[in-house]
């Protein structure tokens, strides 16, 4: 696979350089919402959806800002678009599934400050991907995020039943689990050459 084939871009974002476990982006929701599988999966999907919107808009923003020579505004423009996209998702979830809205709580509006989403916009700009490439990049990143949060939730549900020393309960345990997962994902680094 060559470095700019679409399949490589997808796999690279999803597995080899997994946003959560290799690049440390979006750790807050991974630690916060991964307690139960039933909330972790919708959270992953919502984040992936916002990523897709952010990626497409970032591509448009780059063209417009380049045209007017205003590249230094790019960061502000990205974050404004992401914030509105999150608002959109929040309203949709509230309308169609109030129980899910309550379960996700504060973490739904906090998708705005999820570094993984701004990360997609920034990285695709620095790699100079064209439209289709950035589309696949953001899809891969979204898939990788869902994968990571679902794996974490599964592990944490099992750990809840295990006999863990009292000082290791909570965040410390989650971080150790994430470390082990990240260790496993390092095995993919040879994939795709």
């Amino acid at each position: 696979m060559s470095a700019d084939s679409l399949s490589y871009i997808f796999l690279n974002a999803a597995i080899i350089n997994n946003f959560v476990l290799a690049l440390f982006l979006g750790i807050c929701p991974i630690l916060g919402v991964s307690g139960k599988l039933s909330t972790a999966f919708p959270m992953g999907v919502a984040t992936a959806f916002v990523m897709l919107i952010a990626s497409v808009s970032a591509w448009l923003i780059n063209i417009i800002l380049n045209h007017f020579g205003l590249e230094f505004l790019s960061l502000i423009a990205y974050i404004a678009v992401i914030a509105s996209a999150v608002q959109l998702v929040e309203m949709t979830v509230k309308k169609f599934s109030p129980p899910l809205y309550r379960a996700l709580g504060i973490f739904l509006p906090l998708i705005t400050s999820n570094c993984a989403i701004l990360g997609v916009a920034l990285f695709q700009t620095s790699y100079e991907y064209d439209f289709v490439q950035s589309l696949f990049y953001s899809l891969g990143a979204g898939a990788g995020f869902i994968l990571a949060i679902v794996l974490m939730a599964g592990l944490r549900e099992r750990v809840d039943l295990a006999d863990v020393p009292s000082i290791a309960r909570g965040a410390a345990m989650s971080l150790m689990l994430a470390g082990v997962l990240s260790l496993a994902f390092m095995g993919f680094s040879g994939l795709g050459g």
Binding site: A22, L75, A80, C115, G119, A168, A172, S182, L183
Partner: protein, 221 residues
């Protein structure tokens, strides 16, 4: 603190709360992404800590000044735009000061925008306190954040490459733990620090309980 003596509500605690009791990294678990990503050496950790502290000070100050002007409905968006402005400033500033550090930190300078700690302080503290009090608190939080980054950075650099700030610490026979520089090392070291703090806290509680029961015993006698 001179400011602490002049005005009554600003106490030493306003400053110290960020260093230990509400440390943004070890207690509140906020702003994890840069904490884990850029702490593979002490120099990077320090640069990141200072950049974040600068943005935190400027943006919470700005939020505090504008707190009566910003409408409640759009406050989050307004805060984010203020933060993004100062991050852009820092981005160009670091690029001008040291290109080496700029390249080492990469996209994580721009990602300071989405550091939840800054948004959290703007929302929880700056939006309801006056400027001087906010600045003291933000300075404490920023220093607490920097110390936490240094805690991680020093352990990872020491074990991962056997150096501290680029100077070799162990002899030539030391086999570096490369894993500490790689992503899993970040998770393990932070987990380790959290375990240590949880252990200290538990011992303190046990000692307090023991003291109380002893005192109660005295009273009965």
């Amino acid at each position: 603190m001179a400011a602490g003596q002049q005005q009554q509500p600003i106490t030493m605690d306003t400053f110290l709360v960020g260093l230990w009791r509400e440390n943004p990294v070890f207690v509140m678990l906020l702003g994890m992404c840069p904490v884990l990503a850029v702490t593979n050496s002490v120099a990077n950790a320090l640069a990141m800590g200072l950049a974040t502290t600068f943005v935190l000070l400027c943006s919470t100050g700005m939020v505090s000044i504008l707190r009566s002007v910003i409408p409640k409905e759009v406050r989050i968006a307004a805060y984010i735009v203020i933060i993004a402005t100062f991050v852009t400033v820092v981005d160009y500033l670091i690029q001008a000061i040291s290109l080496e550090i700029y390249n080492a930190l990469g996209a994580f300078i721009q990602l300071i925008v989405v550091n939840c700690m800054i948004l959290g302080r703007a929302e929880a503290f700056a939006s309801r306190n006056r400027l001087s009090r906010t600045m003291v608190n933000s300075l404490g939080m920023g220093i607490g954040f920097t110390i936490a980054l240094l805690c991680l950075g020093s352990v990872r650099e020491l074990l991962g490459s056997g150096e501290l700030l680029g100077y070799p610490v162990f002899g030539a026979a030391f086999e570096p733990w490369v894993i500490m520089l790689l992503p899993p090392g970040g998770f393990f070291v932070l987990g380790g620090w959290l375990l240590l703090f949880a252990w200290i806290k538990e011992r303190q509680q046990q000692r307090a309980v023991r003291q109380r029961t002893e005192e109660a015993g005295h009273d009965v006698r």
